[in-house]
Amino acid sequence: MPEAAPAPGAAAPPPAGATPVLEVREVTKEFGAFTALDGVSLSLQPGQALGLVGPNGSGKTTLINVMSGVHAATRGRVLLRGEEITGLAPHRVCRRGMNRTFQIPRPLGPLTAEENVAVARRHGRPSRHLDVDPLGFVGLEKFASRPASGLTTGQQKRLDLARAIATGPEVLLVDELGAGLSPAELEHVGELLRGLSAMGVALVVVEHLLGFLEAVVASVVVLDAGRPLFVGSLRDAVADPRVIEVFLGK
């Protein structure tokens, strides 16, 4: 991974030989004859924030699904703190210390916001990194007793984040948390992610909003048709002719 220039999302340089908190090795995911991911690899140090970008259909959410156990990889491995988690069910991945949010928020609708978090806190792993009140952290403490289905989309996205935080993750996979949010909400969510990164949580952030991404991550992986096209800083990515071609065409 190239060295990141700006402060956001840049983990301290790991000691020589340190085990990455997350490793994805040559992961391939096929749906019948369609190859959604084709040999994707990435590595993440504690506290590092990595952006995952690419056009629609490039495999970003599929990679999140494979890492979080929602989909089983066809080939390849996923390691968390050096331990094999390939093919584990989502609840086992969660208990090992990796969690995620959803592109379209998935609240536990009939449950209150407080109950959403309570369920995750009970079933997650003891939080060693996050000594925070998840609802307070995402600014939803006023809505604690409100059914999650009654929250706005932006609030539901933050509730997704609070639920994920409540499980005590060391790695958090954030799937288009910024999409559909107002500029003020976007700024708030960006602050939240930077705060998590500062607390030592490694982040994989899927996002189309490059301005938002720039404020959160130091480096990006660009996917194209399931293959890694570019790995490096976001600034270099937007100047790379291959990346420009993928997004804008020739």
Binding site: C94, L108, N116, A118, V119, R122, G124, S145
Partner: protein
């Protein structure tokens, strides 16, 4: 997530007893209310034969109330609508019968063996929980009928008595069976109280709301559903065993009748699934109507009962529990105004 086109969707939030905030301990008054829910109705029903001398009818009522609570456990807290629920009832009845006939046990031990048999059947059928919605409902119905056909098979007459029925008159003891039925109703209600107020019940409600989100939040979805499934099977098996004990002479079609599933489901839905007492009150009201219409106007029974159910489902989709909840909400609002004036 299954969302059958029946009332009660999302009704797990309706309650006879409100769920305390996560992480807080319920107060003494709340515990007293739950204890009353568990104890009072079974005790009243147990004493009713002293004023209404038809113990067999009352036992059938109590058995249906247990079945309605069993449906409440599996449907109200996981969203799985078990049209084949009668399979556990029949397995319990035949497990009890086989214990009496072949192992020469007394009624009590036989009923417990019946529950073991129904639980074993639930274990075998656990893979059905991989299905959802109508697929699960139909598969569970098919499974119950498969068990029925095996038991009624003439080739197995030496063991199950095949289609010729069983005779348990040797251990006939209606008074003890009625006591057990009342206790079982208390146990079934206690199970629902536990689910309404425990962390495990909250996990089940999360699974019902969205299995994927629940799984990502760390809940072992298959395990949670399986526990609810087994608990509901134990209740139905015990109910089937007690019913068999009292009925004494019966045939496979008696205890595997689909009507048993339908009644239990309708009672639960009418009362309000997910609530503590809804299925009990729903069962008492509808079973009483069933008996009244069936005796007074048998020629109109099917029509009147069907119409009543359609009307209730159209205008009261959350069941009686939703009315109770609305009334309590109104009372609290009114009480709040009085309090402020004071």
């Amino acid at each position: 997530m299954p969302s059958p086109a029946v009332a009660g969707t999302g009704a797990a939030t309706t309650a006879g007893a409100a769920t305390p905030a996560p992480g807080t301990r319920p107060g003494a008054r709340r515990w007293a209310a739950w204890a009353a829910y568990v104890v009072v109705i079974p005790v009243l029903l147990y004493l009713t034969p002293h004023v209404y001398n038809n113990q067999l009818l009352l036992l059938n009522l109590v058995v249906y109330l247990v079945l309605a609570q069993g449906v409440n456990v599996i449907y109200g807290f996981t969203g799985y609508l078990p049209f084949g629920y009668v399979g556990f009832f029949g397995a319990g009845a035949y497990g009890t019968s086989m214990a009496v006939i072949h192992l020469h046990t007394g009624g009590t031990v036989a009923v417990l063996i019946g529950a073991v048999v129904s639980t074993a059947m639930a274990v075998v059928l656990l893979p059905l929980l991989r299905l959802t919605g109508a697929y699960f409902a139909l598969a569970s119905l098919a499974a119950s009928q498969a068990v029925y056909l095996v038991i009624a098979n003439p080739s197995l007459t030496s063991f199950t008595k095949g289609p010729y029925g069983v005779d348990l008159s040797r251990v006939f003891n209606p008074n003890l069976a009625y006591l057990y039925a009342a206790i079982l109703l208390a146990v079934a209600t206690a199970v629902v109280v536990y689910l309404r107020n425990s962390a495990f019940g909250l996990s089940l409600r999360a699974v019902r709301a969205d299995p994927l989100t629940a799984s990502v939040a760390g809940i072992n979805v298959a395990r949670a559903r399986g526990i609810a499934w087994l608990a509901s099977a134990v209740l139905a098996g015990l109910a089937g065993g007690i019913s068999a004990w009292v009925t004494s002479v019966f045939y496979p079609e008696t205890v595997f009748a689909i009507n048993i599933s339908v009644f239990a489901i309708v009672f639960a839905l009418f009362g309000g699934v997910g609530s503590v007492l809804g299925p009990v009150f729903g069962g008492i009201i509808l079973y009483s109507l069933y008996e009244y219409i069936g005796v007074s106007s048998p020629q109109y029974f099917q029509f009147a009962y069907g119409l009543l159910i359609v009307i209730l489902m159209l205008f009261l989709p959350g069941g009686l529990a939703s009315v109770a909840r609305a009334a309590r909400s109104l009372w609290e609002r009114t009480g709040g105004r009085v309090h402020r004036r004071a």
